[in-house]
């Protein structure tokens, strides 16, 4: 391929192929931003989203750091038109890092329909996101409630011993979404 022999049409064809590939690649990049964003948020804890899987707790190796205690507050919010009663049994627990904190959330479906709900957790301040572990959580799966049914849902959390010392209080907020149309999810992702 000698470039001197190329007609403008040949050159243009090559430019079109190259720029077309760039455009196609950028369309792909738009979609690649979705997993990239998730990875970025997981590493930094930026959007306060906790690990959607249960924390593997080993009672023998986990040492409780009794030198300090951390206050963990709980918030329950309903998203948009979600009509369930949804609240924690206590608004806060005080735990030592490494110690299991236990409480319950209460949910009731006051409507006449079978509904599926999904609680989405968020931790604030975001720097603490990766240090708040959940051993047991109703947010790992969707929750299905028949008409008028109510449910007590246990939550067991552990604050990591490596939590930066300047963080003494953190908030775990749950927003409950109506996902009836999206279906059930019974396994942690």
């Amino acid at each position: 391929m000698n470039a001197d022999d190329d007609t403008p049409d040949d050159l243009s064809r090559r430019t079109v192929i190259k720029t077309g590939l760039v455009a196609g690649g950028m369309f792909g990049f738009g979609f690649a931003m979705v997993p990239l964003y998730d990875v970025f948020c997981k590493v930094t804890g930026l959007n306060g989203k906790t690990d959607p899987n249960p924390y593997r707790y080993n009672a023998e190796t986990a040492e409780v750091d009794t030198s300090r205690s951390v206050k963990v507050q709980f918030v329950a919010t309903n998203n948009a038109e979600m009509s369930w009663d949804f609240k924690p049994s206590v608004t806060e627990v005080v735990v030592h890092p490494g110690e299991v904190g236990e409480l319950e959330f209460f949910a009731r479906n006051p409507t006449g329909e079978r509904m599926i709900g999904q609680a989405i957790p968020s931790v604030s301040p975001f720097q603490a996101t990766n240090y708040l572990h959940k051993v047991e959580c109703f947010c790992f799966t969707t929750q299905t409630l028949e008409a008028g049914e109510e449910k007590i849902m246990p939550l067991r959390i552990i604050v990591d011993q490596a939590l930066p010392r300047h963080i003494t209080k953190l908030t775990l907020s749950y927003t409950l979404f109506d996902v009836t149309t999206m279906g059930e999810r019974t396994q942690p992702s």
């Binding site: 950028m26 979705v34 964003y37 959007n47």
Partner: protein
């Protein structure tokens, strides 16, 4: 055949023997692959969209003339703000620049036509259909898009009207048109330059458009991806932006502004090129700092990719992020400052005259700088929490888009109209158009700085009483600016119909290959490449 009046007829057999003038009738415009015809189509389309989007702005300003709800209901008001933004961005400003590129780039680099003439026809003819689809949503059940031109999810997904699907397809079509137009421009500039026209000899309008075209192929596909994700969230049960399904609405803002910030430079870089062509002509001095202009444009284009989150200071990004995006944004002031100083230096001690294109260009330099300064104020992350989503932002982006993009387009039209039509436009009317636009535009948007700083939120049809006076002034200015544009239409039509004959070099001392051609420019030009010294 003898009666055919085109300039390439058989009278000059030595020059042309296999070319024809324009076909007759309506089909000429449907089937044309001539860059001048397509440029004209783009420009008329963009002007129609400008008036359509402008009419919507008039509805907005009429409602905001007084506090309280008087003319339209809030839902329709939201549709007006949304459609005004979408139509002005995708229907008016972008096609106008593509139209100017079609007309002028081949003439400026000595090319016979665009590199891909048939694709050129296609990329234009997609536009009217996309525009009709977009506007038709206003008449559908549930109304048109009402979520702002930035269409943040979940407002546009979970809570959007049923017509959102049509909006998505319209954006897809507009995007495809822009990408094809950009590819065509890149292919033309890279491959069809006349011998001797090296890259660093290209007029700045060609340079700025080359860089703009790269921005277009880089970000329009990302926008297409964003609306595709919306489409899937709405119809196919995915959860890209639905937190309940594991998605994240903030992700939408990241993807949108990754497109959106380069997009604002897409709407301004060609203006830089236009002004860099006009100022030297009427100052009768060569452009100061050509090379630095090229590098400044490229720097701005590069920086536009790493500043997007300054639109999102309030969503809760960490301090490090706020600082990075704040400083990166402020950095853009450096290459922009280089350009402004170069323009001022070009005019400095020049033998200046103030014809209409020059007036619009000087107003561009002054008013765009005001918009740049309010942009710098907005870039200060801690202060942005006060300015965010207020009329201060509206004032800022209208100061960069109206006297920035639109004034530059007016300047370009006045500057090259003699070349396009063969007639000089009516200078008195042109100056009248300038002064009415200048006063109207400043009356409309300057008070918005004050009411924005005082806390008036944008996109709301009603406001607190203390904002009443400034809003009334803004509305009066808006009506003035709006009606003035009918005068522009009259001036252009008058110039097409007749007027003083334009010389080949329509402006004394104008530089560039386009002025070596007769006025009006023949239907086919540079079939043999010109000599570039």
């Amino acid at each position: 055949m003898t009666a055919v009046t085109d300039t390439c007829s058989n009278e000059k057999p030595s020059e042309h023997h296999d070319h024809h003038g324009p076909a007759r009738g309506l089909m000429r415009w449907v089937l044309t692959t001539n860059h001048k015809d397509i440029g004209t189509l783009y420009l008329w389309f963009s002007f129609i969209m400008f008036l359509t989007g402008g009419a919507m702005a008039m509805v907005i300003r009429a409602e905001l003339f007084q506090p309280g709800m008087q003319i339209v209901d809030p839902g329709f008001f939201n549709q007006m703000t949304t459609m005004h933004g979408l139509i002005m961005v995708f229907g008016a400003v972008m096609p106008a620049f593509v139209g100017l590129a079609n007309w002028m780039i081949p003439l400026m680099i000595g090319a016979p036509d665009m590199a891909l003439p048939r694709m050129n026809n296609w990329s234009f003819w997609i536009l009217p259909f996309a525009a009709v689809m977009l506007i038709s949503t206003l008449f559908m059940e549930g109304g048109g898009p009402n979520f702002g031109w930035t269409f943040y999810a979940p407002l546009s997904t979970t809570y959007g009207p049923p017509s959102t699907t049509f909006f998505i397809f319209a954006i897809h079509m507009l995007g495809i048109s822009s990408i094809m137009g950009a590819i065509n421009i890149i292919a033309t500039i890279l491959n069809l330059r006349a011998p001797g026209m090296t890259m660093m000899k290209m007029p700045l309008f060609v340079w700025t458009w080359l860089i703009t075209a790269y921005l277009l192929i880089a970000v329009m596909p990302v926008l297409a991806g964003a609306v595709t994700m919306m489409l899937m969230d709405i119809h196919f049960g995915t959860s890209f932006f639905n937190a309940g399904g594991g998605g994240d609405p903030v992700l939408f803002q990241h993807i949108f502004w990754f497109f959106g910030h380069p997009e604002v430079y897409i709407m301004i870089l060609p203006s830089f090129g236009i002004v860099s062509a006009i100022l030297p002509t009427f100052a009768r001095k060569p452009l100061f700092g050509y090379t630095s202009m090229v590098y400044a444009t490229a720097s701005i284009a590069f920086l536009s990719f790493i500043v997007w989150a300054h639109h999102m200071f309030t969503v809760g990004i960490p301090l490090v992020g706020e600082l990075f995006f704040m400083y990166a944004t402020m950095l853009i002031a450096v290459p922009t400052g280089v350009k402004v100083f170069n323009w001022v230096t070009t005019m400095f001690r020049g033998a200046m005259t103030f014809e209409t294109p020059m007036l619009f260009s000087i107003a561009f330099v002054v008013l765009f700088t005001i918009g740049g300064f309010s942009g710098l104020m907005l870039s200060i992350a801690p202060a942005d929490f006060q300015y965010h989503d207020t009329y201060f932002v509206v004032a800022h982006f209208h100061y960069v888009l109206v006297p920035g993009a639109i004034f530059a387009i007016f300047a370009a039209v006045y500057y090259w109209l003699p070349k396009w039509t063969g007639h000089m436009y009516d200078e008195t009317l042109g100056k009248t158009h300038f002064w009415l636009s200048f006063i109207g535009m400043n009356l409309t948007f300057f008070p918005m700085h004050f009411i924005g700083l005082a806390g008036m939120p944008r996109r709301i049809p009603d406001y607190a009483l203390q904002f009443a006076d400034f809003n009334m002034i803004a509305s009066i200015g808006g009506f003035m600016f709006g009606t003035t544009q009918l005068l522009f239409l009259f001036i252009v039509v008058k110039c097409i119909k007749g007027g003083e004959k334009a010389k080949a070099e329509s402006w004394e001392g104008a530089e560039g290959l386009e002025w070596s051609l007769p006025s009006p420019a023949p239907y086919h030009t540079f079939t043999t490449p010109p000599d570039v010294k």
